[in-house]
């Protein structure tokens, strides 16, 4: 049911764009108004979410650790698993962001046959999710970078070289990009994993399936435009350049497939700040990752501690000494 609702949502989006530009003359709406609105929602929503997270109280050091914390000099400190300086935190964060290090660990519990014909409990590190995740992310990043050729004139050298490397094998014309194959493969794996692994399926929600199917549709429409039902690329660049330089124009004769692609991308971008995709910023804002593990090293004072008025016994006795003496109560100071 959850898969189905996500699938229907994507199908409806495709239909909206197809009808809006294929049957109705709404090219300006789908080519200019919707992308601008989506972009504005994306930027404002992103900043809003980050600012909102920043306001959360983080009174304690709560980094997730999985190694020996900094202790006496003769105790070996695990610098990456329990970083205690900002530098170590930065290194751990970089490894997390670029290599998905914590996902690489991904310990799984399995029952395996032992030598006596019985079963034994083994813990293994499952790499498939990590592999699917990192190949998807790197492919997506490369594809976004490659798309800058539509938004820049002259095209920066970096973008050109990325494109050259991506089409390195010169298969088919126009050249087949390796990242296109990789992203479709990785997304398909990530999607099927949710469908066919009963444990993952049980915890999967519609908002887990939706981004996968949406991005898969974006990739599919992009590949179709390049290799099957070709669209007017020059017109598309004119449209993109118009958007990026705030003087939008909508050239005639760009295929409906392009508007479907653009509408799906607009949806993704507008949906982004309000979805689980915000882990893009969340990974940096996560106190379990961005704080050094120095709770026993530095005295952390809660910044909004209430200033409690105390009345010590010495002060009490000073105040009531004469009365206490008169009542023959023992006093510490005469």
């Amino acid at each position: 049911m959850k898969v189905l609702s996500a699938l229907v949502a994507v199908a409806v989006l495709v239909l909206i764009a197809a009808i809006g530009t294929g049957l109705a003359p709404l090219q300006y709406v789908f080519g200019v108004v919707v992308p601008y609105a989506a972009f504005a929602v994306f930027v404002a929503g992103f900043v809003y979410r980050v600012a909102k997270w920043a306001k959360s109280a983080v009174p304690y050091r709560i980094p997730t650790t999985c190694g020996q914390q900094k202790s006496l000099d003769w105790v070996k400190h695990s610098k990456l698993e329990a970083p205690h300086t900002t530098g170590q935190v930065v290194v751990r964060m970089l490894l997390e962001v670029f290599l998905f290090r914590s996902l690489f660990r991904n310990t799984r519990t399995n029952l395996e046959d032992d030598d006596d014909g019985g079963k034994k409990l083994v813990y293994t590190s499952s790499k498939w999710l990590w592999l699917g995740g990192i190949t998807f992310h790197l492919a997506f990043f490369t594809i976004v970078l490659r798309h800058l050729r539509f938004f820049t004139e002259p095209v920066p050298f970096l973008v050109q070289s990325v494109e050259g490397v991506d089409g390195f094998f010169q298969m088919t014309l126009p050249a087949l990009y390796q990242t296109d194959l990789v992203i479709v493969g990785a997304l398909t794996y990530l999607f099927l994993r949710r469908l066919f692994d009963p444990k993952v399926r049980y915890i999967s929600l519609a908002n887990d399936y939706f981004p996968l199917l949406l991005i898969l549709s974006i990739a599919a429409t992009g590949i179709l435009m390049r290799h099957v039902w070709r669209v007017d690329v020059v017109g598309i660049k004119e449209l993109a350049m118009g958007l990026a330089s705030f003087s939008p124009t909508v050239p005639d004769g760009i295929g409906t497939l392009f508007y479907i692609h653009l509408f799906l991308v607009s949806t993704l971008v507008a949906y982004f700040p309000f979805s689980k995709l915000m882990h893009l910023a969340g990974v940096f804002m996560s106190p379990t990752r961005n704080l050094p593990n120095n709770s026993r090293e530095v005295h952390h004072v809660n910044p909004w501690n209430y200033d409690v008025k105390v009345h010590t016994y010495a002060e009490y006795e000073d105040e009531f000494r004469e009365v206490m003496k008169a009542a023959e109560l023992p006093v510490e100071k005469e």
Partner: protein
Amino acid sequence: MNKRGEMLTGLVIAVFLVLVLSPILYNFAVGNARSVPDLKPPPGGEKQCVESKEWMRGNHMQLLFDWRETVVREGNRTYRASDGKEYNMSLTSECLSCHTNKDEFCDQCHDYLKVKPYCWDCHIVPPKENA
């Protein structure tokens, strides 16, 4: 929020904005948004290409790719167009006989979109007539 948190938040937002707005900033700074391809029609006055103009615009690369396969692997040089007319399958002596100027035809769109066709790895760019 402490000082550390403020710096981190500022950094995340600043990096995000710079990355997201970079194409816009780039176009304002060094960009040339107004330049669009300007294709010159064939100087010989030929009006009819091998296939229709609209079809060629999207699929010329596929046509050239097929021509190359057919010529090099099958030794067949005759192309029967969809209107029944027959053409000699050759980039240099058929396509370029009308589109004589690579700079004013091929390169216009290819440079605009930074497409680098490998035709010219093997084929020689014909010398310009007036050069």
